[in-house]
């Protein structure tokens, strides 16, 4: 699905923040990405989301070498990837329903075509009763679930979650983890970037550990 070969990344003239990364994200796989602060997790997530290009090496996404992908083709590839940020990135002037439906609006779909899908997904993540609420009145956990629902609404092949449990209490973190596992069971590959060892302990999954820009993988 996504394959990195000897990928390196540096910002400007600084030293490399990611070095010689070689790994693959397989279809329907589940993995944690972890490592100390400053190890390059966010940079790697950005590379996975195709919002950056590596300074060396090859990133192959969905069978395409990203260095040969034109700017106009990038949105099409990004739509195959869902992303959840630690700070949610919900638009405060839109309701939960509208935030979740946003990727479908961007695709040009009519509201009547996607309404039932969005409502169904909101119910699935436990926000069925909160769909008309604006994000400022949602709790942290609700915001996180809304952000997850927005990432899932287009049925992406890969879901990237950057510290998805960073702002929630442990019980809610476990519930969110169950959502990701269920999603993976339905066929989506999942990459969760986290510091939360307790969270990783709950799941028997592949771990990708970044340290000083180098990656070690424990299957």
């Amino acid at each position: 699905m996504i394959r990195f070969e000897n990928v390196g990344l540096r910002y400007g003239m600084g030293s490399e923040v990611l070095r010689d990364l070689t790994f693959s994200i397989e279809p329907q796989s589940f993995q944690f990405l972890t490592g100390p602060s400053g190890a390059g997790k966010t940079s790697l997530m950005r590379l996975l989301f195709l919002s950056m290009k590596p300074t060396r090496g090859i990133v192959n996404a969905f069978g395409r070498d990203t260095s040969a992908v034109s700017k106009s083709e990038l949105p099409g590839l990004r739509r195959r990837i869902g992303i959840v940020f630690q700070d949610f990135r919900l638009l405060d002037h839109m309701t939960t329903y509208e935030n979740v439906a946003l990727p479908l609006r961007v695709l040009g779909q009519e509201e009547s075509d996607y309404r039932s899908d969005v409502i169904e997904l909101l119910k699935w993540v436990g926000l069925g009763e909160r769909m008309h609420v604006l994000p400022p009145v949602l709790s942290g956990g609700e915001k996180q679930r809304a952000a997850i629902a927005r990432a899932l609404i287009t049925r992406p092949e890969l879901l990237l979650a950057d510290e998805p449990t960073g702002n929630v209490d442990p019980p809610l973190a476990r519930r969110l983890l169950r959502l990701f596992i269920e999603l993976n069971r339905l066929g989506t590959s999942v990459v969760i970037a986290t510091h939360d060892l307790a969270l990783m302990e709950q799941v028997d999954a592949r771990r990708m550990i970044l340290n000083e820009g180098r990656l070690s993988i424990h299957d």
């Binding site: 329907q28 949105p75 739509r79 992303i83 990135r89 002037h93 699935w124 436990g126 008309h132 609420v133």
Partner: protein
């Protein structure tokens, strides 16, 4: 439900125990946790208000919130610029029309001038000139200025009680032209020079040439002002778009990561600026129209307001005319389109810088 009839996600799926599938994972069992409980939608304040507000689903909110675009101030700027542009177009139309009227009036009138000379019978030459002019096709009435009319003509310069016989004053014959196309002006000029002693023909071409030059200069100046005004407006819109993009950085980023193409993002911003441009253009154009209609009414009533009478003498009825009003409509259209295109272009530039 999807269009295939299959459920997108089973509503209670998240509540079931996760089952390990091919390539999937299994959550390790925990003791003394609430993990077995399904995620339940929390109840919070704001829910009732939201339900009251929606009563079902509201029309989708604009992706770029209208209040995030510097709306009121920019609408005012666009309205002022449109007003100035419309006033320029209207003024050019008035001057142009007045110049055309003057030129028409002048070209429909010729003057035969007979200079006094020794041994020339002035009255006989005047009669000859009248008869000669009337022989030509396209000529209407031919009228020699009487002594009284000549005195009246010279009174501003030579005062009252002028004795025409005491001064070598040329005599003037007004020839009105009914059909300028039919009149052979060159032949008339030749005939007057040849057959009338001391006679010459003045077709006022010096005046009409100057009028044409003046009218052209006014049109060019008006066009230059129009370009400057519209350019200022374009720059204002560029700055406003950049400000709107910066103020909506989060919206732009979110649109980027949900896979929006640049054209989609540009369209979302352009929509606001199109409406804003239309609003500003209509306000500015309407005020300009009100002023021109007011001037027209004042001129019609021959108002005693200072300046109006003089302006009426100079420019005729001070009416913008259909062409002027069409020009104002064109300015409103141009302002609207220019605002939308400028904002779209600025968004693309801004997005290119972000990448």
């Amino acid at each position: 439900m999807t269009k295939t009839g299959k459920p997108l996600f089973a509503t209670q799926a998240a509540q079931e125990s996760p089952a390990r599938q091919s390539g999937g994972v299994r959550q390790r069992p925990r003791k003394n946790t609430k993990a077995g409980k399904p995620p339940r939608p929390p109840v919070a304040a704001g829910q009732a208000r939201a339900k009251r507000r929606s009563g079902g689903l509201r029309p989708p909110a604009a992706i770029v919130p209208p209040q995030a675009v510097a709306g009121r101030a920019l609408t005012l700027v666009v309205a002022i610029m449109s007003f100035l542009a419309c006033v320029t177009v209207g003024s050019v139309a008035i001057v142009r029309e007045a110049a055309d009227d003057w030129a028409n009036e002048i070209t429909r009138e010729l003057t035969i001038q007979i200079r006094p000379a020794d041994g020339v019978d002035m009255l006989r030459e005047i009669d000859k000139a009248i008869a000669l002019a009337q022989e030509f096709q396209g000529v209407g009435t031919v009228h020699a200025l009487s002594d009284a009319e000549t005195r009246e003509l010279l009174r501003p310069w030579l005062g009252d009680g002028l004795d025409l016989d005491a001064l070598p004053v040329p005599r003037l014959i007004k020839v009105s032209v009914d059909d300028p196309q039919a009149l052979d002006l060159a032949a008339l000029r030749q005939a007057v020079s040849r057959e009338i002693a001391g006679g010459s023909l003045d077709d006022h071409s010096a005046w009409t040439d100057r009028l044409a030059s003046m009218a052209n200069a006014v049109v060019i100046a008006g066009f230059a002002i129009l370009v400057l005004v519209l350019w200022s407006m374009v720059l204002s819109v560029v700055f406003a778009t950049r400000a709107a993009m910066s103020g909506n950085r989060e919206v732009v980023e979110v649109l980027h990561f949900v896979g929006a193409e640049e054209s989609f993002i540009a369209r979302e911003f352009q929509r606001h600026f199109l409406l804003l441009g239309l609003k500003g253009g209509i306000i500015g154009g309407a005020i300009a129209c009100v002023i021109f209609i007011g001037l027209d009414v004042l001129a019609d009533r021959r108002s005693a307001l200072p300046g109006v009478e003089q302006a009426t003498v100079l420019f005729g009825d001070l009416s913008v005319g259909p062409a002027g009003y069409l020009g104002i409509l064109a300015v409103i259209f141009l302002v609207t389109v220019l605002t939308a295109i400028t904002s779209r272009f600025s968004v693309h530039m801004h997005l290119a810088q972000l990448d």
